[in-house]
């Protein structure tokens, strides 16, 4: 069984991100930055109707606009011929490419589209009604319920409880909003296709672009040297990638088609909403005993397609991390005329955490038990057991936790906690090393670095295994010409890539030692050994091995908030994170991931919500002046305690840190006020409503 070296100089060190110099200097070329010769600007025309039957589309006027070189219909539109129904505000209709953005803007205005508007529905509650307009003719908006249960008689089980609480928790549709929008620069020539993609998965882009453009997969090369964030929404080339390819083919020139921020909000993914009606009971010894949940949420138009088969896109993990002997969980997905959901950082978990951890606190309060003790009493995960105790000490839980609503004065303080659970395992990556006689070495791996630090991780591992320094190693990722690795989602990348780099470097070293006759070619002997290689470089292939990575992380977070009961404004003062993982490969980038998870969770708790207008079917807050993201001034003091467990090998930690933050803040707000705000984002209006101070929403 392979194992990580006992002596680690760079693995687990504070070494800086290897691509940071390129990123701070503007030298890093993102897919939105590349400028192949004669490149054209591309843009997409989208539906301005929430639902409509198209009667006419005429692209000719667009082609007459000066500078315009190509105009194509969106693939779904051209495939459906005369039977085109647009199902949401923002659905792709056509694309244009021209010599400037301005030419494209003129061309989009010139395209003639006529359509008959059809009834639509954009809010979950409206879509559930029996007489609601159907998003899809062939299926009702509301999917069949997906039911899971345990125990013979739930009513009896609730009857056995010493205390039972009920609550209706809701979470909004959240939009990914990576700062680099979705998009690609695509060059289609007779020799094949080159695509610079802002993606989390170069191989899935290769596959889907080949299908979309009807070319063999081996003729499609995808390059992602840098990319500006994904958070789960960037797999595959997207409709926009195929449109860019079609435009490039027609114009016989490369086309850069990056979505606008508006497009981004409308069409390329979001986290489904949830409406969780819950009931939770515990026996007199403080053990959870009975639970019921009816949940529905929307995944946009995508839900309708899946509802035909009885599945659903908005399901949550329930009863979350807890083992409850008696439960019934029923979940439904409701289709609305809005863009489809996609996986979003820890899919299904932040909403589940907000609901479940909220009702846990309600029950603890009702039973007069400290919420910390209540969790210790009910959490089945051994590592988290220690994390509660350790975190509580660092946070000062015993001193800070007071009876709900007992904070004096108009500005009330409160504390809350919540926990996380995630996998973080991965496998399947391949890699190769190329070693030259001058001692230079390149490591190539067909993964992609989303800003998570994957390139840095590769350099640190290779440095320790070869006795070199990170600056001696050239790391290449993000190219389908390199050995395949797979998409970067589910926090799988670190656990999948690291063992492959271990294997590659170990084998390369053995091969180098054999060819050179140098017994130990590491460190000081490296150059001498390489000199004996001759003119042909040594190329060695390696792959993921068992035993160097694992999965299953916990994590606990504590939050302290201040709530102004006159204005309803919530200020997060402090968050303490206790996170386990495995072997820390890159300390700096690991910490950055944890900070980032918390900060995204603060946005989910307090600011972010997609807002659909029921009278026009339009998304009302597509850009950042109305869709609020957490800013620098909103960031509290964040203390991170990372539990080092090298014996577990490498585990990905990109997702767990964003799971419990909103729940911990929600519990802290309830602790401050003495009444609960059951819906996120916890806006000033909702706080005032909970306090009975806002007559408009009472």
């Amino acid at each position: 069984m392979p194992s990580w070296p006992e002596e680690r100089k760079y693995i687990g060190s504070h070494a800086t991100r290897i691509d940071a110099p390129a990123k701070v200097s503007g030298a890093a070329k993102y897919p939105s930055d590349v400028q192949p010769q004669n490149w054209l600007y591309g843009m997409i025309l989208r539906s301005k109707w929430a639902k409509a039957k198209v009667t006419k589309i005429n692209l000719d006027p667009a082609l007459k606009v000066p500078g315009i070189k190509a105009a194509v219909l969106a693939p779904a539109v051209s495939e459906r011929g005369n039977d085109v129904t647009l199902r949401y505000y923002g659905e792709e209709i056509a694309g244009v490419a021209g010599t400037s953005k301005q030419a494209c803007l003129d061309a989009l205005r010139a395209i003639e589209v006529e359509a008959n508007e059809l009834p639509y529905v954009v809010r979950e509650d409206d879509a559930k009604a029996d007489d609601a307009a159907r998003v899809w003719d062939e299926a009702p908006n509301l999917s069949r319920a997906n039911v899971r249960q345990q125990g013979d008689d739930l009513d009896k089980a609730f009857g056995e409880c010493a205390a039972v609480v009920e609550g209706f928790f809701t979470t909004p549709v959240q939009i990914h909003h990576p700062l680099e929008t979705h998009g690609n620069t695509v060059s289609v020539t007779d020799d094949g296709v080159t695509c610079w993609a802002s993606t989390q998965g170069i191989t899935s882009v290769q596959q889907d672009l080949a299908t979309g453009l009807k070319v063999p997969q081996n003729q499609v090369r995808v390059i992602t040297e840098f990319m500006g964030g994904g958070f789960g929404a960037k797999f595959g080339p997207g409709v926009e990638g195929v449109i860019a390819g079609l435009l490039s083919k027609q114009a016989r020139a490369p086309v850069k088609l990056m979505l606008t921020r508006f497009d981004q909000a409308l069409a390329v993914g979001n986290r489904p909403s949830s409406f969780q009606k819950m009931k939770l009971g515990a026996t007199s010894d403080g053990k959870l005993h009975a639970f019921s949940m009816d949940n529905y949420g929307t995944a946009g138009i995508g839900a309708g397609a899946s509802s035909a088969g009885g599945g659903g896109g908005a399901g949550l993990r329930a009863p979350y991390i807890y083992h409850i002997p008696n439960f019934r969980v029923s979940q439904q997905t409701v289709a609305v005329n809005a863009g489809s959901s996609r996986s979003f950082r820890a899919p299904g978990c932040p909403p589940a955490s907000f609901g479940m951890e909220g009702i846990m606190d309600e029950l603890a309060v009702k039973m007069g038990i400290d919420p910390l003790e209540f969790r210790i009493n009910n959490d089945p995960f051994e590592i988290r057991q220690k994390e509660y105790k350790f975190g509580a000490e660092k946070f000062g839980w015993k001193e800070k936790y007071k009876k709900p609503g007992s904070s004096p004065g108009p500005i009330k303080t409160g504390v809350g906690l919540a926990c996380a659970s995630w996998g973080g395992g991965g496998q399947g990556t391949q890699a190769e090393a190329e070693i030259h006689s001058d001692g230079s070495i390149e490591i190539r791996c067909g993964t992609q670095d989303l800003g998570t630090g994957t390139k840095t991780l590769i350099a640190l591992i290779a440095s320790d295994l070869l006795g070199l320094t990170p600056d001696q190693i050239t790391v290449r990722v993000g190219d389908t010409q390199y050995p395949p690795s797979g998409g970067s989602g589910g926090s799988t990348t670190a656990a999948s890539v690291s063992p492959a780099i271990y294997d590659t470097c170990t084998k390369a070293l053995a091969e180098l030692q054999q060819q050179s006759g140098v017994a130990d070619a590491r460190g000081a002997n490296w150059k001498d050994a390489c000199k004996k290689l001759g003119p042909n470089p040594l190329v060695v292939h390696g792959r993921w091995q068992q035993g160097l990575s694992s999965s299953n992380t916990g994590g606990v977070q504590f939050a302290e908030v201040e709530v102004d009961t006159d204005t309803g404004f919530v200020k997060v003062k402090k968050v303490v994170v206790v996170q386990d993982g495995g072997l820390i490969v890159s300390k700096l980038t690991c910490e950055s991931q944890l900070n980032g998870g918390v900060i995204m969770g603060i946005g989910y708790a307090l600011y972010e919500e997609r807002y659909m207008d029921k009278t026009s079917g339009v998304l009302l807050n597509p850009n950042f002046e109305t869709y609020k993201l957490t800013g620098l001034a909103d960031v509290p003091e964040i203390e991170v305690y990372f539990l080092d467990m090298p014996e577990r090998g490498v585990i990905g930690i990109g997702e767990p840190a964003t799971i419990p933050t909103a729940a911990a803040i929600g519990n802290a707000v309830a602790n401050a006020l003495g009444v609960r705000v059951y819906s996120i984002p916890i806006t000033p209006q909702r706080v005032l409503a909970a306090l009975g101070k806002d007559k408009a929403s009472a």
Binding site: S32, L108, R109, E591, L632
Partner: protein, 219 residues
């Protein structure tokens, strides 16, 4: 669709504005406004450019950048789409996120919201212009050492905002850093590290609150 808020390309020309204004206001006032408009038109006549491309010269990072662009092209579009200077990023394209921040005469400016043609005759500094003789600036070095970046797409904007602050206030308080970066957004959540980087570049000590604890030592 660049702006779904105006799906029909709704816009108000000066003439239609005056017309509608005239319909609801006194005729005399309209006549007066019409004459003002005529005067303005006359005064502007010699300065009318476009709608086709016009030659412009920008002073970017100390070098002249000669371009042929339409007058409606923003400074950001001129840099990103008409020159190789793609370091400034387009994220929101409406002055909410700061990823396009450049310095104009040392003032941080959203380049997405300033026309290229109006940026002539001023000293424009982009992220590519911060290093001197191939050496990164102290702000850039601090962003590297403090890991004040993740995906890196907001990074050029933050570096420019912090640079502008430190040129004005060499030793800022934390609140001054927060204020100077209030026009910049990051989605990855690098803010705490940006704060450290700004302080480090200013020579002000700040400490990280991260600890690695061996699991075996926990109770």
């Amino acid at each position: 669709m660049s702006d779904p808020a105006t799906p029909d390309g709704f816009s108000v020309s000066r003439r239609s504005f005056l017309k509608s204004f005239g319909a609801s206001a006194a005729v005399a006032a309209t006549a007066q406004l019409e004459s003002v408009a005529q005067e303005l038109q006359k005064a502007n006549a010699e300065n009318v450019v476009g709608p086709g491309t016009v030659p412009i010269t920008l002073n970017v990072n100390g070098k002249p950048l000669k371009l042929e662009v339409e007058p409606r092209v923003t400074l950001l579009e001129a840099l990103r789409n008409h020159s190789p200077l793609t370091g400034s990023k387009e994220v929101c394209d409406r002055a909410t996120c700061g990823a396009c921040t450049v310095l104009i005469d040392n003032e941080p400016i959203y380049s997405c919201s300033k026309l290229a043609i109006d940026s002539q005759g001023k000293a424009i500094t982009t992220i590519e212009g911060l290093s001197q003789d191939g050496k990164l600036s102290k702000v850039q070095e601090a962003f590297i050492s403090e890991d004040a970046l993740m995906c890196g797409y907001c990074t050029p904007g933050f570096v420019m905002s912090v640079t502008a602050l430190l040129r004005r206030v060499p030793q800022p308080s934390a609140d001054e850093v927060r204020h100077s970066c209030s026009g910049n957004l990051c989605r990855c959540g690098t803010y705490p590290r940006i704060m450290h980087a700004a302080m480090k570049a200013a020579g002000v000590a700040s400490t990280s609150k991260t600890e690695v604890i061996p699991y075996a030592k926990l109770a």
